[in-house]
C-alpha cells in the first residue's frame, strides 16, 4: 500500500533552497491562486494580477536561500507581502497602466477563455474598481493590512511577523481602516442625500 504525503511548506522550501525546480513548481501550484487573487484585490485587474503573480514567484526563486521567508512554517504570508510590494512598485506612478496594454494574437484565440468567463471577469474588475476607489483613500499601510488580513485571510499573527510589526500594531491598522471606511461611507451617504 502506498500513501501520498503532502510535503509541508517547510519541506518544500528546504528542497527549493537546494535549487530543486520540481519543488518550486509545487510551491507555484500550491499558492499561485492565492497570490493571483490577492493581487487582483489590490489592483482591480486580472491581467495585472497575472503579471505580478509571475513576478512574485520569480522573487521567491531568487530568495530561495533565505529561511526567514517562512512564517510559522508557511510561505503564503511572505508571498503575499512580496506580491503587495511588487504591486506597490507598479502603481507608484498614477499613469502606469502597462498591464492593460496587452492583447491576444490570433493564434491564441482558440484556447482563450469562454466569453462568459471574460464577461464575468470584466464584472469583477468593475466591482473591484469601485471598492478600490474607496479603499485607496486609506493610508497605504492600512490599505495593505486590509488586503492581507481581511481580504486574503492571513491570520494577524502571521501577517504581523512578515510585515515586521507587532500584532497589536497590525490590529490597530485594520481597526483604523474600518473606522475610516465607515466615516467615508457615512459622508458619502450624506452627500447622496443632499443631492
Amino acid at each position: 500500500m502506498t500513501s501520498q504525503i503532502r510535503p509541508s511548506d517547510q519541506d518544500l522550501w528546504s528542497t527549493i533552497a537546494t535549487g530543486d525546480e520540481v519543488a518550486f513548481g509545487r510551491l507555484f501550484d500550491r499558492y499561485a491562486r492565492a497570490v493571483y487573487n490577492h493581487v487582483f484585490r489590490l489592483t482591480g485587474s486580472w491581467t495585472l494580477a497575472e503579471d505580478v503573480t509571475q513576478a512574485t514567484f520569480l522573487v521567491a526563486w531568487r530568495r530561495r536561500g533565505e529561511a526567514a521567508v517562512l512564517v510559522d512554517g508557511l510561505a503564503l504570508p511572505w508571498l503575499l507581502v512580496v506580491a503587495t510590494n511588487t504591486t506597490r512598485t507598479e502603481w507608484r506612478s498614477a499613469r502606469r497602466w502597462w498591464a492593460a496594454l496587452r492583447r491576444l494574437p490570433p493564434e491564441r484565440e482558440a484556447d482563450a477563455d469562454p466569453a462568459s468567463d471574460i464577461v464575468a471577469r470584466l464584472d469583477d474588475e468593475r466591482q473591484m474598481t469601485k471598492v478600490l476607489a474607496v479603499v485607496r483613500r486609506l493610508p497605504r499601510a492600512e490599505r495593505e493590512a486590509v488586503a492581507l488580513c481581511l481580504w486574503s485571510g492571513v491570520p494577524y499573527g502571521e501577517a504581523a511577523t512578515v510585515l515586521g510589526i507587532s500584532e497589536g500594531a497590525l490590529r490597530s491598522r485594520v481597526s483604523r481602516a474600518r473606522a475610516r471606511l465607515a466615516r467615508m461611507v457615512t459622508d458619502g451617504n450624506k452627500q447622496e442625500d443632499e443631492r
Binding site: Y36, F40, T86, S93, W98, L101, D117, V134, L150
Partner: protein
Amino acid sequence: MRDILDTPAERDLPPGTAVRMRADLMTSIRRPRRRRTVRLGIATVATAAAVVAGVAMVPSGDEVQHLAMGSSELSPTLHQVVKQCLEWNTQMERIPLSMNDVAVAAEQDHRGVVLFMTDTGYFTCEVWMQPHREISGGANGERVWPQRDWLPGPVQRLLVMSTEVDGGDVAVTGRVSARVQRLVLEHGDGQTTAARLVNGVFGLLTDDANVTRSAELVSYDVNGVEIDRRPLFRPSDEFDHCYVDSSGTLVYGKPGADCRPAEPWGR
C-alpha cells in the same frame, strides 16, 4: 461597511494562463539570463515637442540594434512597434499623436521602445512582440506637460521597463539637456550600456543584461567629464534636490532651501 469591503469571489487562473505562466517560470529559473517573462515599469511625469529623422544600424555588443530617429526611417519592426504604441495611446491616453511625432525609437530582438514628442506633451512606450506570444508592453504619457521646458538636472527619465522586479533587462527613454554629450547606464554589475541621444531625447535597450537595483544613469559633457549620476529606478517624483526655473519658480521636487537651477530643455 460590509458592502465596501465585499470583493468579487476568488477565481482560478485561466487554465491556459496557469500552464503558460508555470512554463515561463520554469524556463526563467533554468535560464536566468534570458528572462523574458515579466514586464515591470516605472514611469515619469513630463516632456515636450518635435520631430526628427534618420535611421542607423548601431552595433551593441554582439547584437545589432536598430535605431530610428524619425518616422520616415523606421524599420518594418519598428513601424509595427510605433503602430502598436499609437493604438495603445488611442485606447488609453488619447494624446493627439501621429507617426510624425516619433522622436526616437530603438529595436532589439523582439522588442522596441519609442518616444513621441508633441508640442505640448509626450508619449513613450515599450512593445514586446515575441512570436506566438501576447503582445505586451508599457507606456506613459502626458497630454499637457507644464514642465516641458525644464529638466530636473541634466537628464530626466520618462519610462523604465524591466524584465524583473528589480532589474534584468531594461528599456529606458527620457530627455537630456544640451550639455549632455554621452549618457551611459551603469548596470551595477560592472557592465554598461550607452544610450542613443537624439536632439535632446534618448532611448536605451539592454540585451541579456543583469541590470541591478543599484543601476545608475551617468551623464558626461563634451569633454568626457561626468556631470550627473542618478539611480535608474528611483521613483520619478523623488529628487535629491528641488529645482527652480529661471524665474525662481519651483518646477521639480518639494520646496526646500537647497533648490538648484532646473536645466533648460529644447530641441
